[in-house]
């Protein structure tokens, strides 16, 4: 091959894109996010062109039905998403339909055709990043997904790029706005869960079917994505231990307040030691990854405790960078569209100048630690009989099961007598056995709540 015929990497191939051949964009889905993406693409075309280097043009929007007026010229709307993706003048596909089907097939079709894809689809990414990334790799296309986690907050790109020279040890985040809105409101008003959920639905913070949010599925998908990026390993939604907030009571929040804590639905991703009996990393064994989503008490002075309402925040702890926090709007049409558009500009620039999004990085291939192995601290509330020696007997029961107590407090009298026990680090299995044994004790009327405690130094 004669040397002169090899263009320098990144050389703009004249005539491919430019004023006469804009970079064509297809938007799949026109809900909250899609409408905002379309609006920004149309209103800020000049700025986008200046930032990309070539014009960026909306070729079409795939919608489910054509029977609504969406304020767009009719020839931009189509129900044929597949046809739109296949158009030869479409270079970048923005997928904001959500869910697995048909998003997965449409994204694969786009990537297989060498088109770049920008998606906000956490459920799809949590389970299929491997497949999508492999397709992108084969055809040297870009797959960007900043908007899939924490809306407008740049956290995907910092993990993939900015921290690529560091070793991330832990990521803890509030990544679901609906549940944070509900927990914040319960904390402020003292109202119970059902009432507050109803209010959140009325205000548009919760969907008609709130299951994905309140049962932690949405947060678990995001946790899987964050853990995969942070630890260079593949984590899917099924690897994430998940508990929602639907069993949280106003009493739980009161108890938390009494010990100067807030209750937050946390997504926690961390490196943990090799399993019992396994060789340690120093002996050639592998450390493991623990990924979990559950409501937990955190001290009010912890930076995540002050994140209220529908806001999101992610704390990243890295060996050299130390503790970083990213805060902002984690959902909503315009904030999510901001993240989508940032990715779109990058994908379009790559088309125009050459260049490529970093691919999937899962070389570490770390095993997942089961939740039973993962020690956390616990906050246990008991109704007890008001007679001498109860505290000692309860404390003894914790000791019997190898769960070490940090503090225990006795409150109230008579039939309102309560014990509040805070443990040191204990595994879930040890704690579960303790709770079962406590429930069987004659002097314990009931175990009223068991909540994890996070964000404290042991």
């Amino acid at each position: 091959m004669p040397e002169a015929s090899v263009p320098a990497v990144n050389e703009v191939v004249p005539g491919q894109w430019g004023p006469d051949r804009p970079i064509g964009v297809a938007v799949l889905g026109m809900g909250n996010v899609g409408s905002e993406v379309v609006r920004i693409l149309r209103e800020h075309a000049d700025d986008l062109q200046a930032r990309v280097g070539a014009p960026v043009t909306l070729r079409g929007v795939a919608v489910r039905t054509l029977d609504r007026d969406r304020g767009l010229p009719a020839d931009l709307l189509t129900t044929d998403a597949e046809g739109l993706v296949a158009r030869s003048d479409v270079d970048v596909v923005v997928e904001v339909i959500g869910g697995i089907d048909p998003a997965r097939a449409l994204i694969l079709a786009a990537l297989n055709a060498g088109k770049s894809v920008v998606t906000a689809n956490k459920a799809l990414l949590a389970d299929y990043t491997g497949e999508l990334a492999a397709a992108a790799e084969r055809s040297r296309a870009d797959l960007y997904f900043e908007a899939a986690v924490a809306g407008a907050i740049p956290v995907v790109r910092p993990l993939i790029q900015s921290l690529s020279g560091d070793r991330v040890n832990r990521v803890v985040g509030i990544v679901n706005g609906t549940t944070n809105f509900i927990l914040s409101a319960m904390d402020e008003t003292g109202a119970d869960y059902g009432e507050t959920l109803a209010e959140a639905t009325r205000l548009g913070y919760a969907e008609a079917d709130p299951t994905a949010d309140v049962e932690g599925y949405d947060a678990a998908a995001k946790a899987a994505i964050l853990a995969s990026l942070a630890f260079h390993t593949r984590v899917t939604a099924a690897d994430v231990f998940r508990q929602g907030i639907s069993t949280i009571t106003s009493e739980d929040l009161e108890t938390a307040s009494a010990v100067n804590c807030a209750v937050k639905l946390l997504a926690i991703c961390e490196r943990v030691p090799a399993g019992p009996g396994e060789p340690s990393p120093d002996e050639g064994g592998k450390e493991r990854v623990s990924v979990r989503v559950y409501p937990a008490l955190i001290p009010r002075k912890h930076p995540l405790a002050t994140v209220s309402g529908a806001f999101n925040a992610v704390v990243v702890e890295a060996e050299n960078a130390g503790r970083l926090m990213f805060y902002g709007q984690g959902a909503g049409g315009a904030p999510t569209a901001s993240a989508v558009l940032g990715d779109l500009v990058m994908a379009a620039r790559n088309k125009f100048f050459g260049g490529r999004a970093p691919g999937e990085s899962v070389y570490a291939a770390l095993p997942i630690a089961p939740i039973g192995d993962t020690p956390t601290r616990y906050h246990v509330n008991l109704k007890v009989e008001d007679r001498p020696g109860v505290l000692a007997r309860v404390a003894g029961k914790f000791a019997e099961h190898g769960v070490s107590i940090s503090t225990v407090r006795q409150e109230g009298h008579d039939d309102r007598a309560r014990l509040v026990v805070v443990t040191h680090l204990a595994t879930e299995s040890a704690l579960a056995e303790t709770v079962a044994a406590l429930a069987d004790m004659e002097s314990v009327t009931s175990v009223t709540s068991v909540l994890r405690l996070e964000g404290t130094e042991e």
Copy 2:
């Protein structure tokens, strides 16, 4: 040119880099940051290789003198920085010398030779980004500088990439750890500035010559970089209005506390309207950019007020993303090295896979608004004579000069009588005239302090 001879963009050119031809790195400077960069490059070579796709090898470190033991093989150390940069097996140059000379010439030499450059040099970037970016553009090399602003906190990359599809209206940050450490300590201990600076020097938070930090030069350089990125326009250090903290007294902090405010050295970059008499943006005129660094009161409930000690934080307000905050360690060897290494991995990946860092984006070319035109709120402290009618006369003086008062409070008696006035938005020129007139009033003993107030809604 036959079509078959054109490799796909990003195609790995076999034999150029790979196991037998690692990506070679030169580090210029081995101070706090350089030592950490070298340590991480050596200790985490395997991880870096996995993330880049090819081995990354340290070719040499340029130091000023060879007479110290730096724990490195002697053949890695050289005093010939120029020669090191020119070596044919050096592909990426990391510049952590700081200052203008010789950093500028070395970086230009590297870029002109098509080598990628990673730098943490805010002073250089604040004045010479245009020149450096042009050199990078000509030779299609990468220029990365995440570490130049706010150490480990990813804020450069989010502004360049994540927010590239949004319109940033305002960036406000605490971007200098030394001054934040001093102001936090003064606030906590009640000690005066001199005492606290001495303590900061003793603890290593302030340099022997603290001028660059305490007089705001360091923050101003970072503000210039942030403003350039946020608004797609060129802002240099000379465009930044700058006031340091060396005139802040313990009394200022007391006064601030009394109104539930903290005092912080803020870097503020914002879009402001076109100048007086100029056409508005709607009429084809240009909005302007105001960039300024000064100590200011901010309400304790503002997110930046809780950033204490040597930590940094940057708040970005964008049209669609809303308000984002980035928080973490803004200085120090390891945190800054984390940012440098992230850039280094990206630069090395681009070498290996093809691809290129986004270039400078200054298409907007917005004029700079002079500080005299930029309205802020003010907090003015006066010692006054304790007699009837003083408050009214002082208030009248503000009104005369067109400065509208938000609140005025009278404190103390006799020779300790004070007035604390908080204004609505006023221009610096109007405020300066008011203060001059106040100082001339018979019933005003002295104007004890004039501080700006930020972070409040008007």
